[in-house]
Symmetry: D2
Subunit: 356 residues, 4 copies
């Protein structure tokens, strides 16, 4: 429910406008150097207010480690990270206490639990993902020691698509632009589109592409915990994610087997494939090639224009957004995608160790 | 690993050419009438040899219940179903004992486990999905008692796409054609395409669309077990599945929030939405509208023409398929998609009961 | 590892001398009134310094709820409780940084993890149990709404044994004496014994008896999650616990079946048993009678007199305890036993709801 | 529920008088030589009819492996073992269809599930433990490759107690007597007692002592999956088990810390302890010394003399046992205790590998 992973397991807690959010990692390998600056840096990539094209809410997202680290190293015991909520402004949300905002989780939470913390969306707020980014940063530190690198970028905003594959892009440019698209020409168009949308009080969707490099052969469980299924589960668990594909994905269905099959080659003693439509995963298990995938994000549900809706007593009403929401979620989704991917890979690394 | 679900939990076992495959359901609600004919019927929808456009292997897939049913009703104890393997023909596969077939799981299994049952793909064979279909049939029987209906159909083969939405199709026609596409005109084109591909010894991909009707409000856990994430995980766990989207999916990224938001309405005391881009799930929780999703399947890896590859000692070699493989997996994937969806919904029904 | 329970699941974190300890409850039913004073009261029953016969460490154990409660009620989302560490005195422990204290967890932690937070035992300290007591208090609040009552008391200290069964004791007297034995005569003897032992700088073991009243019929899973096995697992998970028995326990092995069998009776329409050697559980499932059990606790490992040992480099050394440890753990173990029992019963209540 | 273990995970199924019982092991390490004769031998140690002091039912308990083994070695995929039921005699049990046998699970099953397979106790029958013994035999084969040895024996029947510790007994004699007590003098007394009891149609309880030798340092999780708690959970999950203690156990509560503490010593470079009241586990983690424990078993509930009871409609009735039950369960419990201990240790071996 609020836990993710089997051996590198995280449990998150916290509501958007409660006292704090946070995460406990159970299973972080002992002896890992915990670089708090790196973790804070990852949180900054996700935090609101970082650029003109994201929500202007002010949240510092200062993380504090309360357990599981001793003299700078993980101890193998639960590593707990706390992020206090500061910019609460609870009164902003009292107007929606009795209303179900369209395409938000207000209605479903109310029906599922019989009550809800309506302040800022409570637990359904994307604020919860800060906890995942913090946990993912620890996973990244672990994966770095194994030479595994996880990178994500914005490959589509609305109709604007980055047409080159990830192999042809200079991924070192991702952070050079607030929209996090390494094709800087497309990035500029995306920024302009987002700004236009924002002026209209509207929102737009997008796609984040993820790439995992250096993954060893053998990760993933063949039947129900296939590596790509775990990645898909992870991505679809991010707020607003509506779709996931890896390797050739939906486009691969139009191909013939003779085109789609990845031919094995012996490259100086290492078995590789000449193409990679498999996306680095065969039979649910990593084959040592790059793993790449795409995650679709819908337009944010909060918009400024008035919309019709119903209230908690079933009466017709109207809802209108107030300022400070994201016109497009994907620039800030990039570090979340990376975090979730890192958590999956870290977990499967530990799982595979049981085979020895 | 080989288990799926939390409270309605299945564990499958068995290799393609071992003695048997099967499944144990732990958590089937007691008192459920077990209709064995229905289960067998579901298995027949998946079984090889059922039509001219699927593999011509002869497998009866006769299922026997060995436990958990007493006087025709489930007892709440583990319900075990066994399917013996008959048409083994193990010698057919000896030629691949030392070779890694392109885009199969031979290489990754060998590296992960250090050895593998190479006969017919062993555990990585799609044969394992028969066990899922049997378990899914039990889940369907349970869901039927609650008025929940799960339907899947082929909506794309190669470039041939069923352009109408599921709402505009007559879903009662699905089983009228071996390709399981309810748009019978497109179905005929699909069949012709598959036959052509088959003659070439090649294969082609496709898409299966799933629809869940009658799902109550409140299913799904909001953070890491979102209902759609569980469905995605389930679909991506089916052999050859490369992508999953629900509701507006990948196309939804091009929409504005003002277009995409589903407006709540009070319809004679029941809260519904005027559109359903959310795909029946908001904040990870079902909202009572139809749940619909699409799953992409790649072209089957086994093809007749000779392909280059490497063998287990790293030497260059060639591989060529022998008869009796599916030219296109999607017609037989339909009951598997339904089974996995049924397992997910049954599990979340039981999970939600804890809230009462 | 650091989680307990399936549907009412807790995850604890924190070291004895880190910044804080705490617990996240995932699965607390929504709508439950959260009485913070009650929780704090339970923590006070466990806290050091509460009487002359327990450790004189000063720990206030002030608990703060950071999430999962809104307007005084649980929301069904993770309920996180934090207890900050105050009386750290880390320097007290520097002398054991390089030494393995006899019968402590220093050696095994060092070997398991390769490093350890040696301050006050770190994670292996009984301090962690405060988090369980806080979580158990929430479970108790839930069980109270169902009429289920959980009581524990000290029934043995060293050789001093409370000879009456729980049925013949006035359990309302438990909190009238710091040793928490409702037989006040024996209680006085126990207190004297503990004081004598304490003067010697030594320690002594004891037994805590637990009773669960009002448990409905049907809790417990028959094969691997038998209700009594879950209770045993819970008790044996408490620091220093060396044994568990329920119902007739170890003494029951000397009985004949004809003596031991509990005869069913129809008491005004309710089926009860005339005796209760079964301890309220038959076939792993509660039968509606009182559940009772005993947990054995060894003498605390920290003693004042010098003991021989080895250090982390394998050299022979000596260790001697410094002040402020418990001469006998059982008076403070009583609320921990109750908390763990409450967590088990709450979890099985939710599990049973799946059957409906 | 019907699964046990986290990484070496078993799921059992089957009723006493259904078609078959069996077990699926998910997580057996690949490449393990599977000695079927050894497994069958372990089953024979548990099977009815093996001697004059156990039930005279005729069950061959022939086990067949249906998956997960290829060319004599485990493949890492689910290893399924089936044992068909032969000596069913279902009519024997029709007389209890409507009655609740005292201290059996009839009443609790009926109330929990609303129906039950009453034939021979159905799922609550000890017959289910054959599946555990089969799985435990695989675990033993795995542990043997690591030099870990698991031995159990009968140390008490009724009042007859084997007074020597396990260290002073010649454990190679265990199988020399049908009662499985290596103190052959006491064994003879036990046999006589059991025969007397049997003639009376009555039953008697007993204690099984278990010893684990060669366990490496570091197994066990410190907080909620302490090694001894997992062992206790495993033992208490065996039918008729009423208590568990390890190391000094219940007797240890009378000791002083200064007596009970195990002093560390450096023995030729290996750190050991001079005494072993800890029972090989400190802080929940193995310390490399022998692990030893005791499990109490109540007298079997089935007895010949007529007993009062109630039937399913609440009416007063009488029940009397028919032939072929065990007068004392412990001789046949020995291989079950070993099997469950082996499953626990195998699981924790795999869990510890994640730390590497």
């Amino acid at each position: 429910m609020n836990s993710f992973g089997q051996l590198f397991k995280i449990t998150t807690f916290g509501e958007s406008h409660g006292k704090a959010i946070g995460v406990t990692i159970d299973g972080c390998p002992p002896g890992l150097s915990i670089d708090e600056e790196f973790i804070q840096g990852e949180l900054s990539r996700r935090r609101p207010g970082q650029s003109a094209i994201v929500t202007q809410r002010k949240e510092a997202d200062e993380m504090e480690i309360l357990s599981g680290v001793f003299e700078g190293k993980s101890t193998g015991t639960p590593l707990m990270m706390l992020i206090k909520n500061k910019d609460a402004r609870s009164k902003d949300y009292s107007h929606i206490a009795e209303k179900f905002r369209p395409s938000h989780a207000d209605f479903t939470y109310q029906k599922k639990y019989g009550l809800r913390d309506y302040r800022g969306g409570g637990r359904s707020s994307a604020r919860e993902t800060a906890a995942r980014v913090a946990a993912g940063a620890i996973a990244k530190l672990f994966l770095k020691t194994l030479g595994i690198d996880i990178i994500a970028y914005v490959s589509q905003v609305g109709d604007l698509r980055c047409t080159s594959d990830y192999q042809r892009l200079d991924l070192s440019l991702i952070e050079n632009t607030p929209v996090r698209c390494p094709d800087l020409e497309v990035a500029d168009q995306m920024i302009n589109l987002i700004k236009t949308i924002k002026k209209q009080g509207d929102t737009i969707g997008g796609v984040v592409t993820g790439v995992i490099k250096g993954c060893p052969v053998g990760l993933g469980e063949p039947v129900f915990d296939k590596l790509h299924a775990a990645l898909g589960n992870a991505m679809l668990g991010i707020n607003a994610c509506k779709g996931f594909e890896y390797g050739s994905g939906f486009e691969g269905v139009t191909m013939r087997g003779s085109q789609h099959n990845d031919i094995f080659e012996n490259k100086d003693g290492k078995i590789t494939t000449s193409s990679n439509f498999s996306g680095g995963v065969q039979g649910g298990i990593s084959n040592g090639m790059d793993i790449y995938f795409r995650s679709a994000f819908k337009p944010v549900a909060t918009i400024i224009p008035e919309q019709k809706s119903v209230d908690t007593s079933g009466e017709t009403t109207t809802v209108s957004g107030r300022g400070r929401h994201d016109p497009c979620v994907v620039p800030r989704a990039v570090p979340i995608v990376e975090a979730m991917a890192a958590l999956v890979i870290a977990d499967f690394i530990l799982l595979q160790r049981r085979i020895g």
